[in-house]
Amino acid sequence: MENIAAKLLWTFLGLLIVLNWGMLKTSIVRKIVARVGGRYGIRWYQPWINLIKLYGTRGQLSHGVMFYLGPVFRIAGGVGLFLFMPLIFGDPRWSNFAFAGDLILLLYFKFFGMLGMALGAGEGGHPYSAIGVSRGLSQYTTVEIPFTLGIIALAVQYDTLSLTEMVAAQQGGIANWTIVTNPIASAALLFSMLGIFMHAPFDLVKAPNEIPIGPPTEYHGSYLGVLRTNAAIMHITEAVLFMNLLFGGANNWIELIIKTFLIYFITVFIGVVFPRFRIEQSVRFFLGVPLILGILAIILIM
């Protein structure tokens, strides 16, 4: 009984670290992107201010239960993903509840948040939300393929589906990181990472948010705060997922922070260079090179 309480404490602590690191990362990345654009960018503490302001204001209106449940599903998805993700290798304190489910659980749990958000936006009744959701779902289906192919290739290579064992197999120097031992599967996974993060070239899904009358204006106050926290946690957790899969996991927090930042930076780096894709283009893109890479990875291990 007591180790469960301790477990909860450590997991909560882990969550706080990841939350703050998430917000710090967004501000650093926004500063870098601004610098590239010749601007100063936001202050490093801007995200914290936003959060405090959002949670401070009182929510004024709601479109019904489902509108409520949208953000709740979203945050539950983000935190849930975090809970089942082993952060630090070898240290039981930081491997959260990874023992409850393996890689497939993570794979499918991402959908929990997505579906919830889709329904919430739908309930909002705003026409653009439906368009945004349909774009997101369509794009996501094709992103999943190279990702699944890569996962299967790794599962066969390491002969396991549990993430902790995969990380264990990658210990001992860069030589036996997956990126080195199985480059093709890693390439496929990296391509799909771009899609999963929904950053730059594939961020058509969140495009309506930028227009003032987009769904987020409906989500204000504490709802928007919840969405912001979830965004921060999700980016870090997904980065940790790719770290564990491809870059040999982390033995301590510093290694984790550096690696997650670099991983996230890959997407930002590509995002800045490429213009935004239309849905058919992104769907066809993912059915092109990434798919071939994925199939190649499978054939190699066939």
Binding site: R58, G59, Q60, L61, S62, H63, G64, V65, M66, Y68, L69, P71, V72, F73, A76, V79, L83, A100, G101, L103, I104, L105, Y108, F109, F111, F112, M114, L115, L119, G122, G125, H126, P127, A130, V133, S134, S138, Y140, T141, E144, I145, T148, L149, I152, A155, V156, L161, S162, I213, E218, Y223, V226, R278, I279, E280, V283, R284, L287, I298, I301
Partner: protein, 1043 residues
């Protein structure tokens, strides 16, 4: 016992004496006439009873006091007694039916009729060749005379064609007789059959005797004259033609067939096959009812000819098979002709009038089902024995062609039934005077009596097997009760059956118990919404119980015959259910065609499987030694028509969508599992060890994956809610097929989990959407929207079902996906696995679509006042949701028994459990813990958000971007129409109706072929004579130069 000679004496005596009565005294004449007919039937009946009670042996009746070769003799054996009673009963009932005509035409017509019946009787009995010729003449002249009853231009032409044709045929027969007498030195048939003189004289003698008898049976190219008689004469004449005269001439052919020797039999069989296929094909394009019935009865005669032709191979079964085909044709055809007489309109559509007379409609549907050779009617048992015998003697081609022919026949028969049940375009009324309906009732009763006889004959000892069928039949009788009462009776009946299944199968054979659970308990749940319906709801409960009894019997079937009968009964029941939908004639018709096509392929598969094995038990599937690959493939195709796999799926969207709102869940969630159960049996038969890379399971794997992909993709682009769910069923069934064809422990475990999940969530979805459709009266999703406010409970259940469908973690759907992943990786089927995963993710598209378009978005004005779905729709949904919750929180409770079931067949690398965590060699998963974490997490966050924004104001969905100004057309803001336009552009081509076009092309080309074939009947009497002469000469040339 009255010597049969009195049949002739009475008939002729009274016929001659009828001459006394001029027009004046009609009363005495008609009473004498009916007396004569009853006497004839009595004599035949007396002999039949004597034979049936077993102590009577074949009797030879001599005339003119001398022994046979020197005088004419009649034989009264068991076959003759049976046929005589059939002919005389047909005569008596026909006379009752023609009561008004006899009153109008008086003594002369009575004489003709009496002589016709007497002629047919003597044809059956006589053992003398020339005597046969004389009485054949009497029968054909009398029949031509009967054609003149309707006395308008057309029937006179038909009579003329009939008379000229039979005259030419008897002329040929006369030549044959004189040859036979000259070379065989006798006219006594028993001697002729043995005489070597005929064989020595070369083929022409036996040819000239057998060919006229074949011509008499109206073989395919040369039967224009026969068809016109069916079309233009009084329906009672048609009934006599197809009932009595065909039976008599078929028996004569059977009597004289040995004359032709080995080649003779082959020729008869081949000509019979050409007739069977040709006239069925020609029947396809018919719109005139009686002409179509003519084609169908000629096809049945063709089938009887095949049976006679295959006598050397069938041995003593020939009579039994021929009898079962003839008795069905006799009872059903006469009934249908008499019905046609009552309706006396020519178009097929006009049979919709029968909807006003339920009893006649019931008889009509029963007759057609009996004719198309479906169980439990005699023709089916005949066909079954024929196919089995053909398989045992190893000629597969015959099986294929015979089944193809019967499928074509089923096409035009069921199209006709569709009109009968559903068509409303009639504007006339019919008079059902008693003397016209009594014969039909008697024929119907006769058919049911024979069904009882055949069932007792085949399943005498296992009669308990047919209790559910009896219960369904009981519902036919109770159909006059109010719907609610019938619903209660049905549910109690199903409950009793569930209890029987429970204590009969639990622990004994868990696999069957699991499927019994889905079928029967699922059935009860889907019956509950029936309480919403008021009034009588005629025809629903018998059909539903027929389907469920078929499903139940499928489970408890021990051999191939029981399995096949259960399969067909289930198909008939589901067909009668689906056709109840408002505009579901076309879809029910295509459903029936695919099911029948599948059933016939399965029958062929069973036949190949059982050939070479002693019995026909289900274990025969495990050691097929005659063309095993083909047999397994055929049986698989048969089952796949029910699981709507790719290529055989085009019937499903229409059939499930157009069915009534409480029929769709029955048909979709439960009926499809019958196909799955079949496939499991087949795979058990194939056996685990042989299946590592068995070509069939490999192809089925790929087929399952592609079906999943196309099914889900198809669902994503549907506008109609029920069609979306139907397409999704196709996708899910593709999953299940894929899972089972992996043929490993985990694969089957995933399959079973999926079957359980699909049964649950598909029932919820169809019931939920059924409730929505019940309230909003429309299927199209873009006309719905915002129903979450009005129907919150339905939204909850549908949300749960969608989460299970998509396989999102906390709920049991994820268990299926997880097992899938492990099974695929261990089986190394990576590529197929990826397609299935891609399909799984597409499932999100339509999951979101149905939730968004139906429940979220803007509430339409016309839906402002609708209430929540009726309570009867919600109860089963919540019960099923409870099951899903149980399965999600405690997966071990269900997966462990599944595991024990499967380890009997696949012992290696099973799923192992340690306190709640399922372990496979690859990964681990603890359903309970994952569920608890997520629910707690969800609860905390929901509570926190709820607290921080308590005093929030509810805003109507219009007060969004337009700041309170409701847009004039709310539809524009509910973006439910063509939701995935972008996606459609990218991947839409995959769902283009390619396969539907292929099937449409097949359908059109067969119809064009049928149309081309029937063109040979130009209507010119002379051409028909040319046909007869040409047919004889060509067949002679072929035989002559082929020896």
């Amino acid at each position: 016992m009255v010597t049969p000679i009195y049949i002739i004496a009475i008939a002729l005596g009274i016929a001659f004496s009828l001459g006394f009565f001029s027009k004046g005294s009609k009363g005495i004449a008609s009473s004498l006439f009916y007396l004569a007919l009853t006497a004839l039937t009595a004599i035949a009946g007396q002999w039949l009873i004597a034979f049936l009670t077993g102590d009577q042996s074949t009797v030879e009746v001599f005339t003119s006091g001398f022994k046979p070769p020197f005088s004419i003799s009649l034989q009264m054996g068991f076959e003759e007694a049976v046929l005589l009673s059939m002919i005389n009963i047909a005569g008596l009932l026909g006379a009752v039916y023609l009561f008004d005509q006899f009153k109008k035409y008086g003594a002369h017509l009575m004489i003709t009729y009496l002589l016709l019946i007497m002629g047919l009787d003597v044809i059956v009995m006589t053992r003398d060749l020339f005597n046969l010729f004389v009485f054949l003449e009497i029968a054909s002249i009398a029949m031509a005379g009967m054609a003149l009853i309707t006395n308008e231009g057309k029937s006179v032409q038909a009579g003329f064609k009939y008379l000229t044709a039979t005259a030419i045929i008897s002329a040929f027969f006369l030549i044959g007789i004189i040859f036979a007498y000259n070379f065989g030195d006798s006219l006594y048939i028993n001697e002729l059959l043995m005489s070597e003189g005929i064989l020595k004289a070369g083929m022409v003698v036996s040819f000239l005797i057998i060919m006229p008898l074949i011509l008499e049976l109206k073989p395919f190219p040369a039967n224009g004259w026969g068809l016109d008689m069916y079309q233009a004469t009084h329906p009672a004449v048609g009934a006599l033609l197809s009932g009595a005269s065909v039976t008599a001439s078929a028996y004569v052919l059977y009597k004289l067939a040995p004359l032709g020797g080995e080649i003779g039999y082959q020729v008869i069989a081949i000509l019979g096959l050409i007739t069977f296929l040709g006239s069925n094909l020609a029947g396809l394009k018919q719109s005139h009812t009686r002409r179509m019935l003519g084609y169908s009865s000629i096809a049945q005669t063709g089938l009887v000819m095949i049976v006679i032709g295959l006598q050397p191979m069938l041995g003593e079964m020939t009579l039994w098979i021929a009898f079962s085909i003839l008795i069905t044709n006799f009872l059903a055809k006469s009934g249908l002709f008499w019905l046609a007489g009552i309706i006396n309109k020519d178009e097929l559509k006009s049979w919709g009038i029968l909807r006003k007379h339920p009893i006649l409609l019931f008889l009509f549907v029963m007759f057609v089902i009996a004719l198309s050779g479906l169980p439990p009617f005699p023709a089916f048992f005949g066909k079954w024995e024929l196919i089995m015998a053909l398989a045992n003697s190893g000629n597969a081609w015959w099986i294929g062609l015979i089944l193809l022919g019967s499928l074509i026949e089923a096409v035009y028969l069921f199209r006709w039934v569709g009109y009968g049940i559903k068509d409303k375009s009639f504007d006339f009324s019919i008079n059902c005077s008693t003397y016209k309906t009594i014969p039909i009732y008697i024929m119907g009763a006769g058919l049911i009596a024979f069904v009882g006889y055949y069932l007792n004959h085949y399943f005498g000892d296992v009669v308990w097997y047919f209790i559910p069928l009896a219960f369904a039949a009981l519902m036919f009788i109770l159909d006059f009760l109010p719907a609610k009462l019938k619903n209660i009776i049905a549910i109690i009946g199903m409950g009793g059956y569930a209890y029987y299944m429970y204590d009969h199968f639990l622990g004994v054979d868990n696999l069957r118990f699991f499927f019994a659970l889905i079928f029967i308990v699922g059935g009860i749940l889907t019956l509950i919404p029936g309480f919403t319906k008021s009034g009588k709801r005629l025809g629903f409960y018998p059909a539903a119980l027929l389907m469920f009894s078929g499903l139940g019997m499928l489970i408890s079937a021990t051999d191939l015959l029981q399995f096949f009968i259960a399969w067909e009964i289930m198909t008939i029941g589901s067909y009668l259910l689906i056709i109840r939908g408002k505009n579901s004639i076309k879809h029910a018709f295509s459903y029936m065609l695919f099911s029948l096509g599948g059933a016939f392929t399965m029958l062929a598969g069973f036949a190949f499987a059982q050939s070479g094995n002693p019995g026909i038990g289900l274990e025969v599937l495990s050691n097929m030694n005659y063309l095993p690959g083909l047999a397994a493939a055929l049986i698989a195709i048969g089952f796949m028509t029910k699981t709507a796999s790719l290529g055989l799926h085009i019937w499903l969207p229409g059939a499930h969508a157009e069915a009534e709102s409480d029929v769709s869940p029955m048909v979709s969630a439960i009926l499809l599992k019958a196909g799955v159960f079949g496939i499991i049996l087949l795979f058990i038969g194939i056996g685990a060890e042989a299946a590592t890379n068995h070509p069939l399971t490999y192809t089925l794997g790929w087929l399952g994956a592609l079906t999943a992909l196309i099914g889900n993709l198809g669902a994503a682009f549907q506008e109609d809610a029920k069609r979306l769910l139907a397409w999704s069923s196709i996708g899910q069934l593709g999953y299940i097929l894929f899972a089972f064809s992996i043929m490993t422990h985990l694969g089957w475990l995933a399959g079973l989990t999926y079957t359980a999940n699909h049964a649950a969530f598909k029932a919820i979805l169809f019931l939920g959407i059924g409730g929505v459709v019940f309230r909003t009266k429309t299927h199209n999703m873009y006309e719905m929207g915002g129903l979450i406010k009005k129907m919150p409970l339905t939204f909850i259940t549908v949300l749960f079902a969608i989460i299970t469908l998509a396989g999102i973690p906390p709920l049991s759907g994820f268990a299926g996906k997880w097992l899938f992943y492990n099974a695929v990786i261990m089986k190394e089927w990576y590529l197929q696995g990826t397609i299935v995963f891609f399909a799984g993710i597409i499932a999100f598209l339509y999951s979101f679509r149905i939730l968004y378009a139906v429940f979220l978005g803007h509430l339409k004005d016309k839906h402002r006042k609708i209430k929540e779905a009726p309570i009867w729709y919600l109860i089963p949904q919540f019960l099923l949701m409870g099951f899903i919750m149980l399965f999600s929180m405690q997966p071990e409770l269900i997966l462990r028994p599944f595991g024990d079931m499967i380890s009997a067949y696949f012992p290696t690398d099973a799923l192992t459990w340690d306190n709640g965590t399922a372990l496979t060699s690859l990964g681990y998963w603890n359903g309970f813990r994952v569920g608890v974490i997520i629910f707690i997490l969800f609860g905390i966050l929901f509570g926190w958000l709820f607290l921080t924004s308590r005093k929030v104001k509810k805003i109507k969905s219009f007060n969004i971007v337009y700041a309170g100004e409701a847009p004039e057309r709310p539809e524009t803001t509910h973006m439910a129409h063509n939701l995935f336009a972008g996606y459609n552009k990218a991947l839409g081509f995959l769902v283009a109706p390619g396969i539907t076009n292929i099937w449409k092309w097949i359908d059109e080309s067969t119809h064009d072929l049928g149309d081309f074939i029937r063109r040979i009947y130009t209507g010119n009497a002379q051409t028909y004579l040319v046909h007869i002469v040409a047919y004889t000469v060509i067949v002679f040339m072929l035989i002559n130069f082929s020896i």
